[in-house]
């Protein structure tokens, strides 16, 4: 689009008739000079159109064009390359942009602002980038911007992650960069201060919001089938909020409490909650919903809180069996073919193939005290194994290391506990677990729990599950951004403009040369008989 820095200079075009007037007596190229015009018949007799006043030199048009060009140069013409203007719009699609204000989400409001702003710029190429998921890029033309909004994936809107803006120094300097945000994320605001942004479209006004920021559950070791629940609720607004906290196990309401949360603070709630194997989920909800309803609810899967189902095959040592039965997180299944999470095979009783995590307790024929001081393998860290004294340990001598297994405890000549390197995991125990000197040690139960933990691959006694969201993610109060950017003016990478003045001056000079050539040619040629 052509723009002029000093358009008043165009008034100089009014002088163009003066140039024609100055050429009224000049001779043009198509004028034939004759020595005696009185010899020529008058127009009426020659059937020609007479014109008493001499026509101006046709070259007046060329000279007028030169003057017009120079006037245009004084007006400072610039050409904006609107046809190649590319705008990258960085969309803050974080959780706070889903805040509902005036019946519409902030992101929707921001898209409406973007519609108007883009239509004014005349840019033909716009690319949307998600700050939550950089892989999401949507390009569309301005005239189909609504289609582009419809193409914005919902998965991005509900991603629930933190914005990941690009590195400012790596942003394409040939493009304009716009930012759509509500200014609630301080990290994003800091990035906006350093990024080469041309414009920021800020939307959102509300600042009061309460959110469930943590829902955690761990098995209650004192009560079978129960869990200890920890909830954290934050009020990120400027005034106290009174909300009702409801906790559901599946769809069944199990806990309800009315909370008054001071502004800019959080509150922890702890309670015991029975859980069910059939409904392995927890849901905490704050009511009534506020502007950002998406952070009022937090879901937690509790499938891991159920006791471990164990099948025991063979004649296991009695102390071992007792220890297994007394483990608070283990449920012995008497049916060998029932569904189970772990199998215990004693005295090589089972000839079937390994169908899951298996703990094999090998029989001891003539157990001897361990001669060398055994040690735990460093590869099993950070599992906390009990410290076993050598005098407590008895085992058969010269037991070979099983194939495809690694040593967990013992020595290379006398392995005591080994673990298979294949899956499912198989733990082989060559210790005498019925030896009274070992059974009567407090470390015995810790050894049994460690064997179970190593077999299933997760700690049973210290197992906890939690779902949380960042407190900053739920902060919806807009922070002030760069005023100039939010008001539409351009600070960085303005639209590329081409100064047309040199081109016009060159064109005028070229026309002047042409005029001089024509004048010289006219001066050289016979005045009366050139071109006739």
């Amino acid at each position: 689009m052509l723009s002029l820095a000093a358009p008043l200079w165009l008034l100089g075009w009014l002088s163009l008739p003066l140039i024609r007037w100055l050429h009224r007596f000049s001779v043009g190229d198509k004028t034939v000079m004759v020595s005696a015009l009185f010899l020529w018949p008058p127009p009426s007799l020659a059937a020609a159109t007479g014109r008493k006043p001499a026509t101006p030199d046709p070259r007046w048009r060329l000279r007028a064009l030169i003057v017009a060009l120079l006037m245009l140069v004084l007006a400072g013409p610039t050409l904006e390359k609107t046809g190649q203007r590319t705008i990258d719009v960085w969309v803050d699609d974080s959780l706070s942009m889903q805040t509902v204000e005036n019946g519409q989400r902030r992101l929707q409001t921001a898209f409406d602002q973007l519609d108007g702003a883009l239509l004014k710029t005349g840019a033909t190429r716009v690319q949307l980038h998600s700050l939550l998921n950089p892989a999401v890029q949507i390009a569309w033309r301005v005239d189909t911007i609504h289609h582009g909004r419809e193409r914005w994936p919902d998965s991005v809107l509900s991603a629930g992650a933190r914005p990941r803006p690009p590195i400012a120094s790596l942003m394409n300097r040939d493009h304009e960069h716009w930012l759509i945000t509500d200014g609630a994320d301080s990290a994003l605001d800091a990035w906006a201060d350093t990024a080469p942004l041309s414009r920021i479209l800020q939307s959102g006004e509300a600042g009061d919001n309460a959110a469930v920021t943590l829902l955690s559950a761990r098995p209650d070791l004192e009560e079978d089938g129960a869990a200890q629940v920890l909830l954290t609720v934050h009020n990120l607004g400027a005034k106290a909020s009174t909300r009702t906290l409801s906790v559901y196990v599946g769809d069944a309401l199990r806990y309800r409490e009315s909370l008054r949360i001071p502004p800019h603070s959080g509150r922890d709630i702890r309670f015991r909650l029975p859980i069910s194997d059939a409904v392995p989920s927890l849901r905490a909800t704050l009511t009534p919903a506020d502007a950002l309803a998406a952070d009022d609810t937090l879901n937690l899967s509790t499938s891991g809180l159920s006791p471990l189902s164990v099948v025991m095959d063979g004649d296991c040592p009695a102390p071992f069996k007792t220890a297994m039965e007394s483990h608070p997180r283990i449920r012995i299944n008497e049916t060998p073919r029932a569904r189970h999470d772990m199998r215990v095979v004693c005295n090589n009783a089972s000839g079937r193939e390994v169908d899951g995590p298996t703990l094999r307790i090998h029989p001891q024929h003539s157990p001897q005290p361990v001669s060398q001081s055994p040690s735990w393998s460093a590869a099993e860290q950070p599992m906390d194994w009990p410290l076993l004294q050598p005098e407590w340990l008895y085992a058969d001598a010269n037991v070979p290391l099983p194939g495809q297994s690694k040593l967990l405890f013992g020595t290379a000549e006398n392995p005591l506990i080994t673990a298979s390197e294949t899956t499912p995991r198989v733990i082989d125990v060559f210790l005498d677990l019925a030896k009274p000197i070992l059974v009567h040690q407090p470390e015995y139960l810790a050894l049994i729990d460690g064997l179970i933990t190593s077999t299933v691959g997760r700690p049973l006694l210290d197992e906890s599950y939690s779902a949380e969201r960042s407190v900053a993610e739920s902060r919806i109060a807009p922070q002030p951004l760069a005023t100039a950017l939010t008001h539409g003016s351009v600070l960085h990478s303005p639209p590329e403009q081409t100064d047309l003045s040199p081109l016009l001056v060159l064109l005028a000079a070229l026309l002047l040369v042409v005029d001089l050539v024509l004048v010289r040619r006219t001066a050289r040629a016979p005045l009366g008989y050139n071109g006739v």
Partner: protein
């Protein structure tokens, strides 16, 4: 487009050629045969003129107009009045320096310059006083009367420096009238492309007793315009008046007829007023034109 000459037209005239031409032209310009070849005429010799010299007995063949009847009555024998030969009278070369003389470069103006120079040389060779007047819409060149070889050198230098205007001006011979005394000899070298071919001025000069000779340089190239169907803006090179004309065959024919009528009218005017009139083409050689003019003078004297 004719080739541009880098030299002046006077460069084509050599001193030897002028000397040879002078021997031929002297008797023609004097009005009678030369008595002694190689001798210059005396100022006190009888001849054509207005100043009385003496009486002489009438002989057969003499002009009866010169018989002095009073003297005849006194001497009882026909007496003729003789006058002082006016070969050394004052001549004025009026050279047309208007723009029409150069409208086609290299044609009319070079010949005009050469004719002015040659005629001046011939007249100066006979001892006449020669003045040079150049005119367009005013008198642009003025060389007062003089005689001798030095005067010819000055005249030739002025002719070399004289350049006609390219546009504007006019062809007004009247500008020279005030500088020419009555009964002087006048040679006008021009294309006579002016309304009525300068006849009013010529008539006025003849009435003042001036002896006129006209050298009319014509150039048909001025009329050789290519016919066309589109209108063409014609501009008079002197008056700068414009006129849009379609160069049809009819128009070009009418222009040619008007031009020829102008020549015929000027020729008839000259005959009527006893003016020696010589028309020559612009491409003719100066020597041919001068000889044609001098032969015409001899014929008129006879």
């Amino acid at each position: 487009m004719p080739a541009r000459t880098l030299t002046h037209p006077l460069d084509d005239i050599s001193e030897s050629e002028l000397a040879c031409l002078a021997r031929v032209a002297d008797p023609l310009l004097a009005g009678r045969p030369l008595l002694n070849v190689g001798q210059r005429p005396s100022r006190l010799r009888a001849g054509q003129g207005y100043e009385f010299l003496d009486y002489q007995n009438y002989a057969a063949g003499e002009n009866l107009r010169n018989i002095d009847w009073r003297a005849t009555a006194r001497s009882r024998h026909p007496q003729l009045r003789r006058f002082r030969d006016e070969q050394t009278s004052d001549w004025h070369i009026c050279l047309d320096c208007s723009a029409s003389m150069t409208i086609v470069p290299g044609r009319k103006w070079p010949l005009a310059v050469q004719l002015a120079a040659v005629l001046s040389y011939l007249l100066l060779h006979l001892g006449h006083r020669v003045a040079l007047l150049g005119f367009n819409d005013r008198c642009t060149v003025l060389l007062p009367s003089g005689r001798g070889r030095h005067h010819y050198a000055r005249l030739a230098r002025i002719l070399r420096d004289t350049v006609p205007v390219r546009q504007g001006g006019g062809s007004d011979l009247l500008q020279c009238v005030s500088r020419i005394a009555p009964r002087h000899q006048v040679i006008v070298v021009s294309d006579f492309l002016a309304p009525q071919a300068m006849q009013p001025t010529l008539r006025r000069m003849a009435a003042a007793g001036c002896s006129l000779q006209l050298m009319h340089i014509v150039d048909e190239a001025e009329l050789t315009l290519s016919p066309g169907t589109s209108p063409v803006e014609l501009l008079d090179v002197e008056s700068l008046e414009g006129r849009t004309v379609t160069l049809s065959d009819d128009v070009l024919q009418s222009v040619r007829q008007a031009w020829q009528a102008l020549r015929a009218d000027l020729s008839q005017f000259s005959v009527k007023h006893g003016i020696r009139y010589t028309a020559c083409n612009a491409h003719a050689h100066w020597k041919t034109v001068v000889m044609q003019h001098l032969k015409g003078l001899q014929t008129s004297h006879a």
